[in-house]
Symmetry: C2
């Protein structure tokens, strides 16, 4: 059955962010839906943010479109030009290449849930508020290109 059994997919809160940028996403629990479903044309994550958690550091993608639909609870979308409350049913889209960074912050006192879709090809991207960028090969580096210390396993 193509209905996805969400409970059968393990939730993870892993991040490759170097410290101290990792702590803001410790309460971000995600399930990757595409691998278990056989989807290859785009990626889909089902995400739960605990109170206080962020979806990511505020970022953009050079080569990947993103789309989000809010399912439960509320969170604040933060961008260059301000803050927007997202409620269940609200949709948001970020075309690749726009350097207007975005992230979703759960400032409420209960969990929120959303689905986010990503397509295209990773050609790197940047972070609006911190000295961090990501490379096409998935590495996190300073904005001058120098590496962050390796994380211990």
């Amino acid at each position: 059955m193509p209905k996805i059994d969400l409970d059968s997919i393990q939730q993870a809160n892993r991040t490759g962010y170097p410290a101290p940028f990792d702590k803001d996403v410790h309460g971000r629990w995600y399930r990757r839906l595409a691998p278990t479903s056989g989807l290859t044309d785009f990626g889909v994550s089902h995400v739960r943010l605990e109170p206080g958690a962020w979806s990511s550091q505020r970022h953009w993608h050079n080569g990947e479109d993103e789309f989000l639909v809010m399912l439960e609870g509320e969170a604040v979308l933060v961008e260059d030009d301000g803050r927007t409350l997202l409620k269940p049913g609200d949709c948001a889209a970020w075309p690749k290449g726009s350097t207007n960074g975005h992230h979703i912050c759960n400032e409420s006192d209960r969990d929120c849930l959303f689905v986010v879709v990503g397509g295209g090809t990773n050609t790197g991207g940047g972070y609006s508020d911190i000295d961090l960028m990501f490379t096409p090969d998935g590495k996190y580096v300073h904005k001058d290109g120098s590496p962050y210390p390796q994380r211990s396993a």
Copy 2:
């Protein structure tokens, strides 16, 4: 603001289905979200089904992945191997190339809402229950390849 103003996007219930297959989707009202949002890596439709309406005839895509998340109301997912009730928050995925046709039927007495994402490339596809298939150039034809009568404008 990348939050999408859904009310500003016109709803349509157009279909290219030849009669009599068109009547089942007359109560399907959709908004295409990608064009107005600048997304090009995948398509997104925000769909409202009136009671009795179907999302489509039961179909598959040869070259396009599909993903759906239910937002409001209830509908029945119909596939070769049975029927599955979809409720808000439920997700379903149909990888391209699977000939297990699917559609969503609103058998309830109120509207339902869902978001559906499609990626990949149209290389045609088929319909499980009727003498219809679609071609890579977007035409609807009989399964023997012969055309349906042209629709009047």
